[in-house]
Symmetry: C4
Subunit: 201 residues, 4 copies
């Protein structure tokens, strides 16, 4: 049992990531009947923005998970437990997302942004716990450039979310804009970061 | 990291396609208690029609996705990002579908049809972005007849949805009938189109 | 494109079957607050019965699907289209199931049972369409005993549902009891039927 | 048909486990608008606690399922039927979980805890039915230390849930604390238990 292929862990994880990403659409409500259609659609922008942001974050986390597991040669129970805690965080995401979507209407946008960024901060830490478990137990080659590169990028994630979290006390719109910027950066930049890592090998 | 097998991208994509297709059923509501049962069922025809149409479109898109990935030999981060944007569009589909289902009752059928066809138009463009990414980065053999055939069929999709979208300003029922015709055509015709492509190889 | 491995069709189908089966739980409502807890639970028996029945039927259909695909050596677009229509029927199932669950409360149990058995009748026919497509196009070996056995068992399904459907006009409780008997029979008997088929090989 | 690879059973099971685990998030409701945000969040602790507990239990059951199937070399229809009954129990879990989440508000916490622990007791028995089916039919090597170890750990599960169930008549909070302790124990301890089993081989 100490050594088994990682395929089924990835299948279970892929299931959780893809379902959590898809369930986000259930939070999108029909526009208010009292408003003209397009005005009602426009009034729902916070729902669409938080849907978009969380979908991209879940997708990016899936990419990061995928990237780590290309280096994991075998699995053990500690890895399964650490992975399970990470997936717990992924499954949780639709909840702060729906509170963000309602936040403009309820006037509690700062509180919702704190919970939202706090949730992603926790997820960032859980990613580091997963990587630490892999390294500690020798499930990945910690001297390999690809793994060292992943370790650096995983370390940056929680710091960025911590900055966004702190910014909510100063300016919520700026904090959200920073969230959006992070999503775009993570989506378009990994290639470049990987190339640099490749050059170091 | 530059090269990795495409298996897990397909697994994640399959998850998103199959969940989005299955969630459509959650939009089907019980018939109104005030009406006789079969009359209540009949009154819900817009829900059933949009359920049927979107299920077929998601299934056809899955087939197109599957067809492309049989030619993709390796994956990189740009492909993952383009694929993620496509899946964002797929996850979005149940939302315009539910607005279409309610459109007859709310009397906003033109607006809903515009949003519906506009969403599929965007998805058609995202399919072309995915294919363009694959070609640009050499992940598929662009000279291969099968790939050239996919490129032609992907180019046609957005044009057809654009025509349907334009038709909504003239006649919404005709536009919806054209949507239905497209679903039937895509479902029964690919074989013939593939045969022609095979002959050209 | 004419020949590709069936792995991804099975993955997509597995996704749809497992999601449709799992979504059934969303129809289970909390017991009425006005009643004592266990009395409220007991009053919900139609929900539990239809949940149980539909879960078993979806599971059995998945087993039948699995059994057929062990014999399908390659795939083509016609198979994909026939499979998509079958999955459309699977995704539909939670809807008649939820109407059955509410039927005792709304007093429309005959109508709901007609829709329920009619839906499974349609699914049984779609299974035969899938098998016919495989045979017609030479995707399975029609002379092989295992395939001939599947063909016989697929032919029986629609007949059984037709009998249940007809019985609803005479006695709805008997019809539902027959549904339950079918689920138990299909669940415990395949082994024996397979053994007989094996003996004929 | 008597012998086929277990891959697709695992894929279907992984789908059901991951969807059941992810659907739990749909039970989390927005905090009451009448309360200050964080107070409203705090008032929802029973929802979060039952979400956390059920997610961990489903994850641990998935690990146990995974562990057994690493030893299952082939599949037959009896295994499929026993596995289907187990998955029925897994799909059921979100329902007693949502009743637990509402139990503090409705003042029916003992009844909900009985249903909750009773459901897990039934699941523990279904795990033993699955293992018994595998052993009886020679699908696993019953003399192998890994399998003997699984048999012992499966036998313990129902006993622990039975104790929790009995404890609800004496003290519901203690019963729930024992549930939490079980989740933590199962999550952190398998490694040690496996090592001991490995030593006995």
């Amino acid at each position: 049992m100490m050594s088994s292929e990682t395929g089924r862990i990835e299948a279970f994880s892929d299931g959780v990531f893809s379902i959590a990403a898809t369930l986000l659409v259930l939070e999108l409500k029909a526009p208010a009947a009292a408003l003209p259609f397009w005005q009602g659609i426009a009034a729902q922008w916070p729902s669409y923005a938080s849907f978009l942001l969380s979908f991209l974050f879940i997708g990016i986390m899936w990419m990061n998970h995928h990237r780590l597991f290309t280096h994991v040669q075998r699995s053990d129970d500690a890895l399964m437990a650490a992975n399970l805690l990470l997936l717990l965080g992924v499954v949780w995401i639709p909840y702060p997302t729906s509170l963000m979507a309602q936040a403009v209407a309820t006037g509690r946008i700062r509180e919702a942004a704190i919970l939202y960024n706090g949730s992603y901060l926790a997820l960032g830490l859980l990613f580091n716990l997963l990587l630490f478990t892999c390294m500690k137990r020798g499930l990945v080659d910690r001297e390999y450039a690809g793994v060292r590169h992943i370790a650096r990028s995983y370390a940056v994630g929680p710091l960025l979310y911590l900055v966004c979290l702190g910014t909510t006390w100063w300016s919520v719109p700026l904090s959200l804009a920073m969230n959006g910027g992070m999503a775009v950066y993570f989506l378009v930049s990994p290639e470049k970061r990987v190339k640099r890592a490749g050059a170091r090998r």
